[in-house]
Symmetry: C2
Subunit: 224 residues, 2 copies
């Protein structure tokens, strides 16, 4: 008996399917199977494929939904009329707050299943690439970096995004400190605290190479 239930055509079917997909991703994380999503929507696979072409299409659509929010938030934070340090902290806090609020969703945005072998292997998912671009743009517009401006801003956009991604993932999993502290730690890093801090006296002792045997698995030497 087809054409039966669940709010017939109140909202365009597509949205309804995306909602189902959303629920499944919330539950199973990215990598949720098409079958599972179809089941959650109360239908079978072919319908999903009719609407979204292939899995990437579905995930893409799902991603776009949430990306817009995050991207807008980051963009707004980047243009906040604050002192630079405060602005940077604001951006960092925006991102961390987002991944904290809905981890599974942002796992989807930040760690999508590869699937696409075309030139794959990029560290940054599409959503993050957009954020990186946003940062690059902001840096180039706001900061005077001289002739190296374009290269530096592009590089830094990616670098900062990757930095926050990795640190954010770790923070989310370990929760070693409250969010504000994390923001401080990252901002401090960007503010050159690593560079400025004093050298510990015993560091000199470490200067000689520490010969430490691997001590695991009888593997042989590398290929070359």
């Amino acid at each position: 008996m087809p054409t039966d239930a669940t709010s017939p055509t109140g909202e365009p079917r597509r949205e309804q399917l995306l909602n189902a997909a959303d629920r499944v991703v919330q539950r199973d994380g990215p990598g949720a199977s098409m079958n599972a999503i179809a089941a959650e929507a109360g239908i079978t696979k072919p319908i999903l494929y009719r609407h979204f072409g292939d899995r990437n299409g579905l995930i893409g659509a799902l991603t776009e939904r949430h990306t817009s929010g995050l991207l807008a938030a980051v963009r707004a934070a980047l243009n906040e009329p604050l002192e630079r340090r405060d602005r940077v902290e604001h951006v960092l806090d925006t991102y961390l707050a987002a991944i904290e609020a809905r981890p599974q969703v942002y796992r989807l945005l930040t760690h999508p299943e590869p699937g696409d072998p075309t030139g794959a292997g990029n560290a940054l998912a599409p959503a993050l690439r957009q954020i990186a671009d946003e940062i690059s743009k902001a840096v180039e517009i706001q900061v005077d970096l001289g002739a190296d401006g374009p290269l530096l801003s592009e590089t830094w956009g990616r670098a900062i995004t990757g930095m926050v991604l990795a640190a954010g993932d770790w923070w989310l999993e370990q929760r070693p400190c409250p969010r504000s502290r994390m923001v401080q730690a990252l901002a401090d890093l960007l503010w050159g605290r690593l560079a400025a801090a004093a050298t510990l006296p015993l560091a000199v002792v470490q200067s000689t190479v520490a010969a430490r045997p691997p001590a695991e698995s009888p593997g042989a030497g590398p290929t070359g």
Copy 2:
């Protein structure tokens, strides 16, 4: 006709299989299929599974082989008796040189196929986690960060690793500049050049939120 060819038992079979796997990964990138690897080794799947248990076992073994080299190089660079800035540059250069020399191998190390759903979603692959730990340790030993030392060094280890990962991937794909320039750009970032640079005058104009319509796909608003 079993037991036929290719250096009978000269090297322990395991190594021979890993070499084959290595070749396939070089050619097909990570995500190479077990069938493909078996074929390259001139055998069939069950043998691979006998030796490595499952795919993760194989990839793990393959990874360990190469990890040791990279890890040792990074560790050595971290303990080089140089000025801090030079040492950091040395570490950055070491990593970038490695991924430049054998991209596919380091794609394997840095972007392994997820597969393992147990608490997955981490940005950093095992090899990179080791590097992050190494950096954390080095920072904690070498730099005086006061009471926040442990937290900062741990955070920074992950952050720096993620930063170099993302920037390195981008650099490898786009080749926007020679390696040395990339090293400088990243070191400059860590040295607070972003924080220290002057503010461009027109930046103030940007302080108001840039209302820019998405203009792509009739998607709806975010869920929350």
